[in-house]
């Protein structure tokens, strides 16, 4: 069970990897994405994207600002304007 997760900013492709789950700060509330999520698109607010590499593992957080997230057949793509660090 792996979800293909991509985090892209205008400057570069920050992440492209297989993960277990990602929690995205959507404008209307946080949402978690697992493999096989229904097609979905949302704008995101400034906040932390939490990446769970495996089930139950401690999440890795990435600070993002502005952008949106898209869930499709190919996995989750987060297009963020800025990424901290």
């Amino acid at each position: 069970m792996a979800l293909h997760f991509e985090l892209v900013t205008p400057a570069k492709l920050v992440r492209s990897e297989e993960v277990h789950m990602v929690v995205v700060p959507g404008t209307e509330g946080e949402f978690g994405v697992l493999e096989g999520h229904a097609p979905f698109m949302s704008t995101i607010r400034d906040g932390e994207v939490q990446v769970y590499k495996t089930e139950g593992a401690a999440p890795e957080t990435i600070e993002v600002r502005g952008g949106f997230a898209e869930v499709g057949d190919k996995g989750l793509t987060v297009l963020a304007e800025h990424v901290e660090g």
Binding site: M41, E70, D73
Partner: protein, 290 residues
């Protein structure tokens, strides 16, 4: 015929010019690599963004579409956003960009449209001012920052969108060089505002995609971002083109300087020999006369 001293002076001056062009060429070559990497790194974002745009734009159409997609309903006033470099020494690059911009302006004027200019970069200022002094809407200065990046693109896009909302223009075109190789940079004209509908369907196909908040809201957020990305891409292309053109131009200049030095050295040696021969003849003639 120039005197020996004059020739020597010229040879030295050409030599120092050659040193400068050679240094500039090497700097450009190093910078070109970096600029190319940056341009390549920016590609995934642009690709994904236009993919998302395509799937959204096909769903939202008609009157509900935001103004940035729909346009103002007329196409009388055109704005040409011309991206030039800030520094010279890059061959015909800027001249070509300006030529493309002017050609577009002429074509639009011939159709009876109004044309104004929005200039990015220093080197386009003078040549466009010469012909269209009264039509320059703004000059955006990118020379103060070392590597124009997304922040500059953001500022330009915000400014453009504000002007668009105020109704200062109906259609905006972006004129910028596309970097093909160090030898070829093609000036291109793209429509920027209203955002042209991307071709092809989105990859989502028949799958029902849920939108949060709604399609229109997302599209409204997305369009300014799309404009920003376009401008950012143009800035990166400009950077790569500038360095590429500069490298080629400086390579040529270095070679020309080398040829010139060879020619002058031959001339110098000939005159030196001639001078020695004349002196010898004078001495021999003098000795024979005794």
């Amino acid at each position: 015929m120039a005197s020996l001293k004059e020739l020597k002076g010229r040879i030295n001056s050409v030599k120092s010019t050659q040193k400068i062009t050679k240094a500039k060429q090497m700097v450009a070559a190093a910078k070109l690599r970096r600029a190319q990497v940056a341009a390549e790194a920016a590609r995934p974002y642009a690709e994904r963004l236009s993919g998302v745009m395509a799937s959204l734009a096909s769903k939202v159409s008609g009157d509900s579409a935001p103004k940035l997609l729909r346009g103002t309903g007329s196409d009388k006033r055109h704005l040409l956003v011309v991206v030039n470099t800030d520094k010279g020494l890059c061959g015909g690059l800027n001249a070509n960009i300006v030529k493309a911009a002017k050609a577009k302006a002429r074509a639009l004027t011939a159709e009876g449209k109004d044309v104004s200019f929005y200039l990015i970069g220093k080197k386009g200022r003078a040549p466009i001012k010469r012909d269209y002094a009264s039509c320059i809407a703004k000059h955006f200065d990118t020379s103060t920052v070392r590597n124009p990046g997304f922040e500059e693109a953001e500022q330009i896009a915000d400014d453009l969108i504000e002007r668009f909302e105020k109704g200062e223009f109906d259609v905006a075109h972006l004129v910028y060089p596309i970097f093909k190789s160090a030898l070829a940079q093609d000036p291109t004209v793209d429509q920027l505002i209203p955002v042209p509908s991307p071709e092809g369907e989105g990859d989502s196909g028949d799958a029902v995609v849920e939108y949060e908040p709604g399609e229109e809201e997302i599209l409204e957020e997305l369009l300014p971002r799309y404009v920003k990305t376009q401008l950012f891409g143009a800035l990166l292309e400009r950077e790569a083109s500038e360095q590429g053109a500069s490298m080629t131009a400086m390579d040529n200049a270095t070679r020309n300087a080398g040829d010139l030095i060879n020619k002058l050295t031959i001339q110098y040696n000939r005159s030196r020999q001639a001078a020695i021969t004349t002196e010898l003849i004078e001495i021999i003639a003098g000795a024979e006369a005794l």
